[in-house]
Amino acid sequence: MALVNLPTGQLKIDYRDASGSKGSTIFHFPYDTLASVVVTVADVLSAALNALTDAAIDGYSITYTKTEDTPATPTAGSRVEEKGNFIYRTANGRTTRFTIPAIVDSVLNTSGSIDKASLLVTALSDAIIAGDFAFASADGSDITALLEAYQSFRGSTKRQLPSDR
């Protein structure tokens, strides 16, 4: 059981035509190539594309992917529609959030809030706020404190309904 990187990373250049429809061009590069190197190439490729397309370039992204070669077995009854919502205060006075799908019942209070004193939750918040890595909000602000945590549900799609219904 291991997370294995794909052979390549991906540079995606997005653009938009006069009607507002969007498309993208994808380039690959060896996985170990740093984003700082790829972005220099992206500028060159973007200029070359710009000369060939009538669309306007809207930006680009660089993506690196790792996949689990032997995924574990999910817990019986687990459903990703059941979300654990974690909302954090940030240093610039705003909030940031993420969800954990298929949140386990053992950290839920009877109201549906998440027990912030649970050791599993405090370990998570310690890693997010004060761990070795610089987790941040989308605008790059530091994360400072857990503000809210609660369970919510997303509607199931038809594909997610039981096959023996």
């Binding site: 035509d17 590069f29 190439v41 995924p71 993420f98 987790f135 790059g140």
Partner: protein, 157 residues
Amino acid sequence: MSFSPAALIELVWRDETGTTAETVLHISSALDHHVIADAAEAVSAIMAPLTGAVLVRYRIKYQWLPDERLAPAGDTRITSCGMFFFSAGPSAIDGAIVVHSLKPDVLASDGPLAGVGINLADSRVIDLASAVVDNGVTNQFADVYVSLFAAYMQSRV
């Protein structure tokens, strides 16, 4: 282009039904992807006991956005594509690069491929081929492209 201050970590979880959903975290984009990968694996290990789903993959994404929203140069639809086939060896097609809203004046204007084939002698085509070949672009298997093999127009719905 402006560099987004935060890179994305997208953790993809799969539940018992096979359905997947993501946890999206942000992290300083000043970090290289190997460090972010360490962060992703550390935090996913902490999250694992909090979910009945299992981690199947994760993505790290850096984003750049334009400083101003540019207007399209012409009215060619996004579905008019140029397919540029590249070789990683002497004489085979090893991958393709798609250019949307291809400018019509880059198409061959005479011969059997008129209106469909892309003029490989056009300086803009040569520039794209050089940008790809000279900068180590590869196909998805990491085979480095060494030459432009062929190029055609394709309409996509």
